[in-house]
């Protein structure tokens, strides 16, 4: 039988039945858009329009409109790219790694987190296109037969690895997310009252009927996809970090980068998931599904990864001094006390100190505080990338070429573009697709529900009538 540890709080509150789950989660998909949604969507579109105008001008005029100079050749573009890719790590972490670890609390948040991943990777990819300056040449990054004397891309370069890593990550995440959506799309299709929605959801549900055979294959491929996505998600930020680590720039040339970047990615990704889920649960009245327990668990992950990031900062600094390499030492000393000292200390405060406040149970169970810290963490992680990129570049080996970077209206406008894109896509997702995985929640509701409804507990009756019942694996769980 299903045994629930009395120590743990139930994952889903409110004694929901299977029908309640369907009803609660389909409500926002089936109803007309609310006024709040329309206002939020309108604002996102305006932001996107402003950002698109800035981006169009960037492409029309060229990268000269950015604040880059001969010394600082990468600044906000790559900062934003790394920041968005990092945010894009949480979704796959929640859906793949936590699936392998059999963490059932992921079922309430994995759908929205995966959607966030996909949109964040799109935003990241847009910065890759932007920083090329001539985006119509983007295909040069691919190994295509060409008219340049059959010269191929350099497969030894981490920048080319990045092209493969990001595009594989995006497409595999999209497939994983879509596979998870199919059963829920079928649920919406079968409840649909209008012909249009029946046709749309029916087309994307691919004729799903939920037969035992399909489900068994479905669970099998979900497990393999999770097994594939786990090393994939670790490889993506590892490769992003190698864009820096394989260079000989002091401050970039460190072997600690891959694990440090991955921890930072999970850190900022979870913070972004917190921000989105804290709003979603209130707006769509999903407090019974995304409970304080979920929020607290995510805060614990934030504290863990924040601590890893903190240790990495300190290790990096220690090694810069201990190695005895004066250029390396200067790069770090300059970060702390040079003209960009404020960025360094903003990073240290936001990323090292703020997550440690979650050691207090009261604070990590406070919704307002969690929201505040999540925003702070995301600001901190943006500064981390800014510090790594700009402060390492702005003072190079020749003091005559030392320079400062300051953003122009187009640096800022192109960053705003990515926010517009992200929130427009997220709002569309949260209106037209179920934000919580209904099938998975139904599968865990039984073993975790606060008060299993009488109907659900009806199995005992049948048991008495039957004789010599076989024992299933499920019963032993």
């Amino acid at each position: 039988m299903h045994v629930t540890s009395p120590v743990r709080e139930p994952l889903i509150q409110g004694g929901k039945t299977y029908a309640d789950v369907t009803e609660d989660i389909c409500r926002q998909v089936e109803g007309a858009p609310t006024k709040e949604w329309k206002i939020a969507f309108g604002i996102s579109l305006l932001v996107l329009a402003y950002g698109s105008a800035c981006l169009a001008w960037t492409w029309w005029e060229g990268l000269g409109v950015w604040g880059l100079n001969k010394t600082v050749g990468w600044a906000w573009d790559i900062t934003n790219f790394v920041w968005w890719v990092g945010i894009g790590h949480a979704g796959t972490l929640i859906s793949a790694i936590l699936l392998l670890f059999r963490q059932k609390w992921r079922t309430s948040i994995n759908r929205a987190a995966e959607a966030m991943t996909i949109f964040a990777v799109l935003c990241a990819a847009s910065f890759i296109l932007m920083h090329m300056g001539r985006p119509w040449m983007a295909y040069w990054a691919l190994p295509l037969p060409n008219a340049f004397g059959s010269l191929w891309v350099n497969f030894n370069s981490p920048l080319v690895w990045d092209v493969f890593a990001i595009s594989t990550y995006f497409s595999v995440s999209l497939v994983f997310w879509y596979i998870g959506l199919i059963p829920d799309l079928a649920t919406i299709r079968d409840r649909a009252t209008s012909k249009v929605s029946r046709f749309m959801y029916g087309t994307f549900a691919m004729g799903w009927d939920g037969s035992a055979k399909t489900w068994s294959r479905y669970e099998y491929i979900s497990l393999i996809l999770a097994g594939l996505s786990t090393p994939l998600v670790l490889s993506v930020h590892t490769i992003v970090s190698m864009d820096f680590a394989t260079s000989v720039i002091p401050g970039w040339h460190t072997t600690i980068f891959p694990p440090y970047f991955v921890a930072g990615a999970i850190f900022s990704g979870f913070a972004m998931v917190q921000n989105l889920m804290l709003i979603t649960r209130v707006v769509y009245r999903l407090e019974d599904y995304i409970t304080l327990e979920h929020i607290e668990t995510m805060n614990k992950v934030i504290t863990l990864t924040g601590s890893v990031v903190g240790v990495a900062y300190i290790t990096e600094f220690f090694i810069a001094w201990y190695s005895g390499v004066e250029y390396e030492y200067y790069a770090f000393f300059n970060r702390m006390t040079g003209p960009y000292w404020w960025a360094y200390w903003a990073m240290m405060t936001c990323n090292v100190i703020s997550p440690q406040l979650f050691w207090s149970r009261k604070l990590r169970r406070s919704i307002t505080f969690t929201f505040f810290i999540s925003v702070v963490v995301n600001i901190g992680m943006w500064f981390e990338r800014f510090v790594i990129i700009v402060t390492s570049l702005h003072r190079d080996y020749l003091p005559s070429s030392w320079a400062m970077f300051s953003p122009t209206r187009y640096d800022i406008g192109d960053y705003i573009f990515s926010f517009g894109l992200f929130f427009t896509l997220f709002l569309l997702f949260s209106k037209y697709l179920p934000v919580i995985n209904m099938a998975e929640v139904k599968a865990v509701i039984r073993s975790t529900s606060a008060n299993p409804p009488a109907k659900i507990a009806g199995v005992a009756k049948v048991r008495q009538r039957g004789t010599a019942e076989p024992v299933f694996n499920k019963d032993k769980e």
Binding site: P143, A165, S216, I221, L232, K442, K455
Partner: protein
């Protein structure tokens, strides 16, 4: 998915444990069950129904091997044979540098190949059909068992009684 024809008895259950325990009882009583439809996976159901273990993992492995070989062939041929390039003083063919892309392409081929196999083997595809055939509630909160009367020697009444005894709350007749 092949089109269905004939008469079916459809047992509707409202609990996953009930339907899971009903399956071996009905099979023991001599009822041949076509399939069970549920809104979420019921662990142990495929074994209870006697479905063979899925071989999709073998397909996935084959796609992975294909991806791995394609990646290595692409890089060794372009970098080492077609236009040999020495980068950073390394051999034109330096396998360690090819590992990241080999890994990415292995994952890409496995994921897409496996998911395509999944769609084909289950007969899923856009526009295949727009509703579950036996009971529309099987994607919401009901667990539905379909029994093909043409393939059973027992009479309709006998099966219907057996379904009710095993905990079905409704038994319906479906004709295609």
């Amino acid at each position: 998915m092949a089109e269905l024809s004939g008469k079916f008895l459809v047992g509707v259950y409202d609990d996953d444990d009930t339907v899971l325990h009903a399956v071996p009882r009905l099979r023991k009583a001599g009822v041949k069950i076509k399939e069970v439809y549920s809104p979420f996976p019921i662990h142990g159901m495929d074994e209870a129904l006697g479905h063979p273990r899925t071989r999709i993992g073998i397909a996935a492995f084959m796609f992975g091997v294909t991806g791995c070989i394609c990646a290595l062939v692409l890089m060794i041929w372009t970098m080492g044979i077609d236009w040999p390039m020495i980068v950073g003083g390394k051999d034109p063919i330096s396998i360690p540098n090819y590992i990241p892309i080999t890994f990415e392409l292995t994952v890409l081929f496995t994921a897409f190949g496996m998911v395509t196999t999944f769609f084909i083997s289950n007969g899923l595809g856009p526009g295949t059909h727009f509703h579950p055939r036996f009971d529309v509630r099987s994607t919401d909160n009901k667990f539905v068992m379909a029994i093909d009367l043409g393939r059973n020697s027992m009479s309709e009444e006998e099966i219907s009684r057996a379904l009710r005894d095993s905990g079905a709350e409704e038994v319906n007749l479906k004709q295609f």
